[in-house]
Amino acid sequence: MPELTSHTAALRRLLAKLSLPLSLRVTLGAFAGSLILGVALIALLGFPVLSAMRVAGEGAFGDARAVADTLVFMTPRLLVALGALIAIRGGLFNLGGEGQLQMGAIGAILPFLAFGNIGPLLMPLAIVSGALCGALWGLIPAVLKLWRGADEIIVTLLMNFVAIYFVKYLVQGPMRPVGSTFNMSAQLPREGIFVPLIDGTRLHLGVILAVVIASAVWVLLQHTAFGLKLRASGQSPGFVRLQGQSAGRMVLSSMALSGAIGGLAGTFEVLGVQYRLIDGFSSGLGFEGLAVAFLAGLEPFGAVIVSLYFGAINSAALSLQSSLSIPAALADVLSGLPILLLAVISGVMLTKGKPVWTSTR
């Protein structure tokens, strides 16, 4: 629906705003503001503020275990964000991170279920499989857009839930080992998982791979012709069209790549954290990843930093819950607040500082 994509025009304006260095100050302001509000909320709920801040700090960065947890929580959010920002900078509002992540998790377990324990080959195969499943889930909205003009916002949003229920179905049915009463698949063998890199922590290979992928995405965007074309497509599809380039190929390749990276988010969770496919392993990771992408101004290295913040928040929230009985749902609050603040500030800037584009420029 071409008319519905007027929001992408609004997003392009937002993109233009976010590419300024001013955006850094705005983003930092959004984070600071939400942290302050978070502290206020803790006080409001009657918890001791100073101990809470201490426990939170220790929970996020206090020792090797805490840091590892922060990094482990960072990883899936970072990957979803990277996938999302590729698609969005190309002009496609890919809100399907959650679904692509779920499919990537399915992909991670498939080789084991299909071939059994085939040794060291299992892990790379799982990664490829996860990426492919995610790519597929990203390609479907792309194809629908090209073929039927179906707006990708709604398609990707709805497909999230189809994927979630599909995973539920698989672990309650076909993938559940005979005789088990739990809704989860069989466990992966030790050769097929990301073994903890440091004893006593949960740090796994996926963390490092995610950061590597972030760098690769940056190189792709800034230093390749593909990246140039992607960015141009997102900002000025009319320009790209008149240059004789095919919008269709870009839609397909950007969504496939986006879905693949989003899929890896789920893959690495299975390989590095759960070691199996389990119902409910992702409590809204996909949407948090989207939030990360927006807060990062759709920049890969910004996404690293923001997802690190989100990882720290979640890690801290766990400590707060176990030490002080502060509900871990606080993490969701602190995840949503920065975006609201950022969106509001950007909007206000739009009204005040926006240059008026008259026809005389």
Partner: protein
């Protein structure tokens, strides 16, 4: 004795980005007069109207109505004070009917007057317009949409009617009809202000004028007391001989592109193309004249390869014939604004594989080549890495043109190349196009600026309703010859208004 009904009193307007649009402007509009606001693009005419109408607030100074200071923070305030505005880009809700659009504006007691179609029809006929109240505005032709826009501005006991560049989308005959309607409005006691940059139109139709130049007033008075040369000098700042030809006489070379009986089916909002025959040869400048919306966009898309003819053929004479483009919308089609100047200049070459180093982009080489092109085209920019967004309109257009000419194509098609540019930038663009033609390129200029076409073209085709209605060249290229061709073959839409000419 005309009475000043609304005044701007020492008004200045500085936009948030620092741009000073109006500088200490004072102006008075009188009842029973049509007041022309003249000036080039960027002179501040639209800003002035927007301040009167409450779209913007002045940074300094104020608005007086019958001597009393008023503050207009939004259009509702202006409407309450009896001001109506006809915008250049119509503020109409296209899916709504004429009645519904008029009803939107109606205030208070007037609302009941616009509920029934019969009442609406009576209102419309007061101004001599023939329009079906139940017609969907989006499906009306442009000139009639403008009538709706005008009527909308007259709904609420309007004492001041403002029109922002109403004549840009009209043929010469329609302009006459417009002023016939405006005279009726004027004679009913309303003050009318028209923004335009067409001097002849002003001399023929208006009573008083004010010239704006770079945000300041540069002369005001009665039309009876002035003439064309004086007005032009006030607008531009120096006497301009508007017959100055750019480029010498040329003889066209080998044929490079031919359209034979090309047709495109009409659709809503597009007249399509009907049996177009066109031969393009090397080393000539072919102008395509016409009011916007008569097939120019379709022709551009066709030559650009964006559309295929529904019937007829488009033939390139040899395999090497290529087409480079300068589209009409430089912000969204000509450039990718957030990419750098260098990236915009060299985009097609980058996409073809140049400037690579081990699979990645060679930013250094791109920068070096860009510097050469920037120098050659006199593009004023801080550096080649600046985002294209930061440049002025004239320099942005230079990028688009430089890129198009850099491709060494056989045919260069430019669409409204000087729109929104100041005189110096426009001159630069036209001169470059002429040079390209001197060097053997076939240049096609699609424009609604007839004076420029006359200056730069070897021959001019006129389009109307998707057809080529005529071709003039040499000494025959004049507004007198071209004007009538622009209305040839047009179907009359409004029985009451069209004077006998087509």
């Amino acid at each position: 004795m005309p009475v000043p009904i609304i005044q701007l009193d020492h008004v200045s307007k500085r936009y948030p980005n620092g741009f000073l649009a109006l500088d200490n402007v004072s102006l008075a509009l009188h009842t029973g007069e049509i007041h022309a606001l003249l000036g080039e693009n960027g002179a501040g005419k639209s800003t002035l109207l927007n301040i009167l109408y409450g779209v913007h607030e002045p940074s300094e100074g104020g608005v007086l109505i019958e001597g009393r200071e008023v503050v207009h923070r939004r259009p509702a305030d202006a409407i309450a004070n009896g001001i109506g505005m006809v915008h250049q880009h119509f503020k109409l809700v296209m899916p709504f009917t004429v009645s519904e659009n008029l009803a939107l504006v109606a205030k208070g007691a007037r609302r009941s007057a616009f509920r029934r179609h019969a009442d609406v029809r009576a209102f419309i006929e007061r101004f001599g317009v023939d329009l079906d109240p139940a017609a969907v505005v989006g499906q009306l032709p442009l000139a009639l949409q403008q009538r709706v826009e005008i009527l909308k501005a007259l709904v609420n006991e309007t004492r001041v009617l403002l029109l922002d560049e109403p004549s840009t989308i009209l043929t010469p005959a329609e302009i006459d009809n417009l002023y016939a309607t405006l005279r009726r409005v004027r004679d009913q006691g309303t003050a009318v202000a028209v923004v335009t940059h067409n001097v002849d139109e002003v001399l023929a139709n208006t009573d008083r004028y004010t010239v704006l130049k770079r945000g300041r007033t540069n002369g005001t008075g009665l039309i009876a007391d002035t003439d064309s040369a004086q007005l032009v000098e006030r607008i531009v700042g120096h006497a301009v001989s508007n017959a100055a030809r750019i480029g010498a006489e040329r003889t066209p070379g080998a044929e490079c592109l031919a359209l034979r009986e090309v047709s495109l089916r009409p659709s809503s909002g597009s007249p399509g193309l009907h049996q177009i025959d066109l031969t393009l040869s090397a080393g000539e400048v072919v102008g395509v004249a016409g009011v916007e919306g008569n097939g120019q966009t379709e022709l551009f898309d066709l030559l650009a390869g964006q559309r295929q003819p529904d019937s007829g053929s488009l033939r390139f004479n040899t395999e090497e014939i290529s087409v480079a483009l300068v589209p009409q919308d430089r912000h969204h089609e000509g450039l990718s604004l957030d990419l750098s100047v260098a990236q915009n200049l060299l985009y097609p070459r980058i996409m073809l594989g140049e400037f690579r180093h081990g699979g990645l982009l060679d930013h250094g080489a791109i920068g070096e080549q860009a510097k050469v092109m920037i120098e050659l085209s006199d593009i004023r920019t801080q550096s080649h890495a600046t985002p294209a967004r930061s440049l002025s309109g004239g320099n942005q257009q230079k990028i688009v043109l430089a890129r198009a000419l850099d491709q060494a194509a056989s045919v260069v098609v430019v669409y409204q190349p000087t729109r929104g540019l100041d005189v110096a930038a426009a001159e630069a663009v036209l001169t470059r196009l002429a040079h390209a033609a001197d060097n053997g390129t076939c240049v096609v200029v699609i424009s609604s600026n007839i004076e420029e076409l006359i200056r730069v073209s070897d021959r001019i085709l006129v389009v109307n309703g998707g057809r080529v209605t005529g071709e003039v060249n040499g000494a025959d290229m004049s507004l007198k010859a071209i004007g009538p061709l622009m209305t040839l073959g047009r179907q009359p839409h409004s029985r009451v208004l069209e004077t006998a000419d087509a």
